[in-house]
Symmetry: D2
């Protein structure tokens, strides 16, 4: 966790205070269930809720006990007993540490997911607003970094919207993957604890009981969760790189918002660098990288080993905090992005008329020219535009082989930019359900 | 693709012949739609289906043309024209190569998914059969590789069943991710091709139209697909490692089936090595590794670059072929696994009675002993078993502090193995919907 | 291995024929040593060399035997015996399969390294030639994709040269890592085979004896090898991306060579896409990804498990073949790269004079203006160039605060492009040992 | 950085205080060089050293300035000026931020390397001590987790020693990779700063000048550095997994030291879990995972983009702190490992005499039995030991086909354990230079 790439709400999900509070709630809910089925006195459960609920757990004190016992849950229970008194012996009855640890981890991941879902909603809202704003802003589409055919800037943003909409669905599925609770004892057989305890605690915490666990909740769930974050981060990277390209000096069709006091370079004061999106590119690399140790965590030995724990102490916070920060930063970039339609138009016309080459090619084949010949005709005229700065329309009109197949009117008609945008409403309707704001 | 880790059905999904056949179908279906909306003659569409459908495409000939044109789709279209004749000029009207390539790739991934789903079904069936067979086969549960409490071998297999059931659901979702079709032209604006063509082809191929594409189908879909395969491979690895542990000389609770003619070692003839599951461990590493380049493929430049292509030419076949092979091999291992219940029982009793320590601990606390004291009492007796080979029950009965809290009958009652298996039916019902075969 | 990304020399390193030939040589050299120390008859060793040396091993026959024995080395030895006759019983005396397999794998990796080193030499030669050719070709340097200060195209290539020179050193070290031989028996104790056999075979094959092995050669060596290939691939990616940027329509300072018959796009005939370097970007992702399973291969169980084997059957060929192809392709790109100095100059002057802003900033501070004030002065004039297309020199000359600190001559003197290239010879001397061709 | 997996010395390398102190030293050394070549007054350089050297930089204040300027180096320089006064305008003359940032990062990596090298030295010392202690402690070697032939526990440790000795060499090379200094200006041309400044600062800081840089030091160096840490972590994992296997209940040949107050399980007091080595397994996964974003960092755009920065802010500390902690923890594990030779002997004899099977096989072939027949003879007797608990020697003596080839004495002679350890001194001499302590 690097403070500069962290936001407080997500950080607090992973604080020691939050963790101990969740531990307490798991234990206290379990006591309710144990009391309900007659294993411990109902009075004890009430006392535990009352005294534990009022307690402020002392992280330093728990750490101190852990240094002696080398066991975190025992340290916590010992500390809890300092508040609860003799009834504390009813806490954790028949449970094993992982019942608490694993269920807590999942509670934290679910909370983190909820924050990330809200982040995605904010990003989607920004993308939608800007997409409609620029629905008809003509810009050149590029494949291989080379000018292809016109599109609109709104379509670019609609694409990002559709992509993050998919990311949202994936995250909902990933949240569901980890929204489980296990209170099943040392090897998952419920030998010392009735399955009804698990069912009660799961319900109380908004989770589902893990159908079959083995001291630990199976880690394929978490592998899927972190892999999903990696995929979402890769989409963040894609949009970030799009912005970086648009802000290149030679392109300059859009720029990250540049605040008045901001300095671009200690040596070149005029430089406006796309530092936010470059930063997002790096953050995406990190979130993506966490998918691998999460996958390696799946193959725990027999009913469990604890190798996953150190990994999760790192990637639990790091992946969610970093992705939360990245999504929020990306939302800011989208929201305030400076868009330059004039420059888009200027770039589009850099090679005069060349963007219409495919239409001409198609018209030639439809006029009976073989595909191979049409290709050669278009290419020889295109090359004069590309290499000598000629005007594609004029070249075509002066090419006897072309005019043999197409009339001047037919050729001119192919140079209508509106031809390329006629289906933008269709695309918007597919993505947003409507083409109207 | 390594032949020894390949199965023919999946290999054929990725053959050149299959690819060109799919290309043809995409083009021919597109011609139907183009004819339907009046862009090309209906007669031409029929000719294309007829002559192309009857053609046997010559891979070597297409390669030869590609060496000249350096463009694979043009090479194919040129070859197709050799069969179709003059009407071939109506093929690929307004389309761009990626319309064909990307839709074909998704068709291949969908077919691969269907094979993998069948693999998972076979694995699930084997796991279910063996799980019920060993529902009551007592074995020691282990955490940290150390004996913990008893469980049953059936529960181990039920856990694997639940895990691969989740994998199946993930794969269904991953299949859905890539089951899209894009025929949207050079930058996805449908400038030269009506969206109805895409809709028609999608439907004809069992796909959904990609809501918004940009020459390419967005690669976040494929990143999610390959990440999912990586997670499934990690579950393969988990079960493989479980078998490897069980087959260790000192454990020997289960063995991979060993065929009569098989040689274990060129130097030590008696050795029966768990080579299938070791092999699966390595294959899992490979499938997992493919998730990363798939995620790096997401951030294509602008409307597309072609950097994803070489990656997909490798991981498309490699990931699906390897996982198909791994799932089939794992199914064979599960199906024929030699299980040794006597050895399980012997291992369980290696430390006499120690598996019951938690019950004793719990009984002591319920008898009013503080948790800390109970822990110490159990530990001091357990250590004599662990270190000196004593019998845990006898030690407890001889410990005045223990007998002060619990009567002999109460202590003896804690040494009932059935105590640990009383909820196995509950677990089976959760996993399989029933506890009966 | 994808044929389109493979070159025959490297492919042949990994052929079955090559593998069996190496196996034979290992066995035959071992026989020499065994004869030398009197374990087997000298006559037998001679016979083995003679008959085995003359034999053409039949891969299909060996496969057939392996299908029965499920053991590759035994299958090979059985086949070898078909040529050698009764003396074949002296082959493989006291050896274990891995003695052959691991030593063979290292021989293959060493041969692959030698090809890769030759590839790097060819790449370095191309880079050097083009670097000197463009030592003085002025171009704009860019940070964050934004124009910074002038540099030369030769410096860009010198940087790449220095980078691949480092890659070469790393590969030499990586080759050394895997240039070992182990013939140490079932657990590495030389129980059944004298260490002198290992020493003899190592020497004969140009390897060093593995100081301590355990049936297998330790896999940290191979992890380092494949990690090194991943780093080299990342440098390939860097240079590929540089070219892709330079070929962007708006930049167009360089282009991949475009052969006459080549088609850029099935729909847009004029497009010249940087498909080779895009392809290299994807190939780099693959080579990089192989580093991970190689690292996961290190932690084999006890004296060995065989999980590494399937990984190496894949990444051994895939990583070396792909990197070989990528280096050769990159060499071709560099060698034939079309470089457009006029366009470089035009781009450099896109914002009139702005590249000299840092010099002006520095001059102002040296003239006594505080750093903060100088920064503001430069920035306000730079912004008019950036945003309104003004001429930086004229703006400065018209700014009273600037002319209060610097005379007109002093200002004009800052607009000398030669100022930026005065140390190019120093850089070339550092990189190439000389600044002269 | 997770406090529980961190050690203070390495943490301090990455503190803000350390970073600003290094920044100051870079700037002050540069001032010395600038004064030496007459660019700034010598007096100014002295003042800067004096006042800056005495200053305690206020991290909170620098953060505050950075929040306004959004530029960390400018924030630092502004703060430095608060100490130095007017002469501060001579600081950073002609330099660019990356000159400071990149050189500082490399200084930190070099310091981190030195700590890691010391860690490795401590680990090597522990391994050597324990290796000699157990040079002759017989234990079974295992391949595939299955008993193979005897070796000694000392040989296992010698293997680890050799492996970490290689890791040490790799780390020395990796340290060399990053021990460079760049002070070359905005695009690396030294336009505004003389190369002699770089040379001076490099020397003063114990670095080498970067031959050619581009505002940034090329990131292939750092990719190699972090890849090397990943390989070292993989070796940590290997040894950790070895210990985990040895501590398994059924094996129990060694145990992590268990301190008196330590609790193994909150539910099962007798359990002694290999939690340190399980933890190391997880930490290794993390360090390994950082290699990937480091490799992705290589392909910066043109002369630099800043995407690497966020990655390095994370993996710089995380990789080095985690590996430092892991190496220290592993050293403790090795140093205090409880080794149980009696148990090793007991395990070795689990299958009576079977470890001698290869010798018998070899003796049979040397007695003229064909390899195939010898294999079958040994296998049929071995299987009775394996499956029925027979004694291998007795079985062989009772097998007429065996005794037809070998006399009883010849057979008995094969059951000498010393046979397997006769070359241990050779191995130790290869690894440690001597077989004597």
């Amino acid at each position: 966790m690097v403070p500069r790439y962290s936001r407080p709400e997500m950080v607090s999900v992973w604080s020691q205070e939050t963790k101990f509070r969740i531990w307490f709630e798991i234990e206290a809910h379990a006591c309710d269930a144990l009391a309900e089925i007659g294993v411990i006195p109902a009075e004890a459960a009430r006392t535990i809720w009352e005294k534990g609920g009022a307690a402020t757990f002392d992280v330093a004190r728990i750490d101190e006990i852990e240094r002696e016992t080398k066991h975190d849950v025992i340290a916590f229970l010992t500390h809890l007993a300092e508040f609860v008194g003799p009834d504390s012996r009813f806490v954790h009855q028949g449970m094993t540490s992982s019942d608490v640890l694993d269920t807590c981890f999942n509670v934290q991941l679910v909370r983190a997911s909820d924050i990330l879902l809200a982040d995605l909603d904010a990003l989607l809202a920004a993308l939608k607003r800007r997409a409609f704003e620029h629905k008809d802003t003509i810009t050149i589409g590029r494949s291989h970094g080379i000018h292809a055919e016109p599109t609109t800037f709104g379509v670019k943003l609609a694409l990002a919207y559709a992509e993050f909409e998919r990311c949202r669905q994936r995250l909902v599925a990933a949240r569901e993957e980890v929204a489980t609770c296990a209170i099943s004892g040392a090897v998952g057989t419920f030998a010392n604890i009735d399955p009804r305890v698990e069912e009660h605690v799961a319900k109380a915490l908004g989770l589902k009981p893990e159908p079959v666990s083995t001291q630990v909740i199976p880690r394929d769930r978490h592998a899927m969760f972190f892999a999903t974050l990696g995929v979402i981060a890769s989409s963040v990277e894609r949009l970030a790189i799009e912005v970086r390209h648009l802000q290149r000096t030679e392109v300059l069709e859009a720029e990250e918002y540049f605040s008045p006091g901001q300095k671009g370079s200690s040596a070149m004061p005029h430089k406006r660098n796309p530092v936010l999106t470059e930063n997002l590119t790096g953050l995406a690399r990190m979130v993506r990288s966490y998918a691998l140790p999460a996958m390696e965590n799946v193959a725990l030995w027999h009913e469990r080993d604890i190798s996953h724990s150190s990994v999760e102490r790192m990637i639990g916070p790091d992946a969610t905090i970093t992705l939360d920060f990245a999504l929020a930063r990306l939302t800011g970039v989208v929201d305030k992005l400076l868009v330059y339609p004039e420059r888009m138009e200027k770039n589009l016309n850099q090679f005069k008329g060349l963007v219409h080459s495919q239409r001409v090619l198609l018209a030639l084949t439809q006029a009976g020219v073989s595909r191979e010949d049409a290709y050669r005709l278009v290419q020889r005229n295109a090359m004069r535009v590309w290499e000598a700065g000629a005007d594609f329309l004029q070249e075509l009109l002066a090419d006897a082989d072309v005019t043999a197949a197409l009339s001047e009117d037919e050729i001119r008609e192919k140079f209508d930019i509106g031809y390329h945008t006629k289906h933008v409403d269709t695309i918007f309707t597919r993505v947003f359900g409507t083409a109207e704001k």
